[in-house]
């Protein structure tokens, strides 16, 4: 797979090796899927640093979907599709919430926001992934990471 800048996340995640999980909005359920992903990364010999990056970005995205998107309503589902190859990792996470405007999220590194207890998830996702895209009014996030990139 050519993990180039022209990555088409949607096409990639519908490929034959992608897995899809549909879970209720419960953190413990999300953790089971996160563990599956981390195991796959280990099996594909991703470095500890890559695994740390994916773990952090996926946790932030999944928690956003459950808490902010679905308001922790266990009747609402989160759909997680992911793919791990020897070169890269991609994931799509969809919630059933009202969406949000990622550009309207205040920059948590600005002096006036520095001591706010929340609002750092997007920053971390963007830092640790090569690409982060929001679709469907913010109810879907796509993330992509090339192996060994920082």
């Amino acid at each position: 797979m050519n993990a180039s800048a022209s990555w088409d996340g949607m096409a990639w995640l519908t490929g034959a090796t992608a897995a899809e999980r549909i879970i209720p909005s419960v953190i413990a359920e999300a953790h089971r899927v996160q563990q599956e992903i981390l195991e796959l990364l280990k099996q594909n010999s991703f470095s500890d640093r890559d695994i740390f990056a994916v773990k952090l970005a996926v946790e932030e995205a999944v928690v956003n979907a459950i808490r902010h998107g679905n308001q922790s309503d266990p009747d609402k589902k989160v759909r997680i599709a992911y793919q791990v190859t020897t070169d890269a990792f991609a994931i799509r996470i969809c919630d059933e919430g009202c969406g949000f405007d990622p550009d309207a999220v205040p920059d948590p590194t600005q002096e006036e926001n520095l001591e706010k207890p929340s609002g750092r998830g997007l920053l971390l996702m963007r830092y640790y992934m090569n690409e982060v895209r929001f679709l469907d009014g913010g109810t879907t996030v796509l993330m992509f990471k090339r192996r060994g990139s920082s």
Binding site: A28, K55, P117, R120
Partner: protein, 120 residues
């Protein structure tokens, strides 16, 4: 929230008038655990009246933004009662999270527990 018996998540030690808190599990700062950890930390200030706190991150291999939020609230609680929080033994991967988020300048961060203790 959970009816399961709570596994000990913090190791608390008094050294002089400083309370040293060590996290006992390397994955302890993820979303599943952070709520109860936060409550235990706040309780040290609100209920037990501790004013000088050192948090030792030696065993921590991971933390999310939710954990950062708890640390910020703990720091504010201590500042409000003229107390002080110091963090130490933070692994490079974790330290990077403090750098990215700009929180390096919000917290007092020391290399070793000894350095943190001497800062009081």
């Amino acid at each position: 929230m959970s009816s399961q018996p709570r596994r000990r998540q913090l190791e608390i030690q008094e050294i002089g008038d400083v309370t040293v808190v060590a996290f006992t599990d390397r994955k302890i700062l993820d979303e599943q655990n952070i709520q109860s950890i936060g409550e235990q930390l706040y309780s040290l200030v609100d209920d037990a009246g501790r004013r000088k706190l050192v948090l030792n991150f030696a065993k921590v291999e991971y933390l999310s933004s939710a954990a950062l939020g708890k640390l910020i609230t703990l720091n504010k609680k201590l500042q409000a009662v003229k107390g002080r929080l110091a963090l130490c033994n933070i692994a490079p991967d974790i330290f990077e999270v403090f750098e990215i988020t700009g929180l390096k300048k919000v917290f007092n961060i020391y290399k070793t527990e000894q350095d943190a203790l001497q800062s009081f």
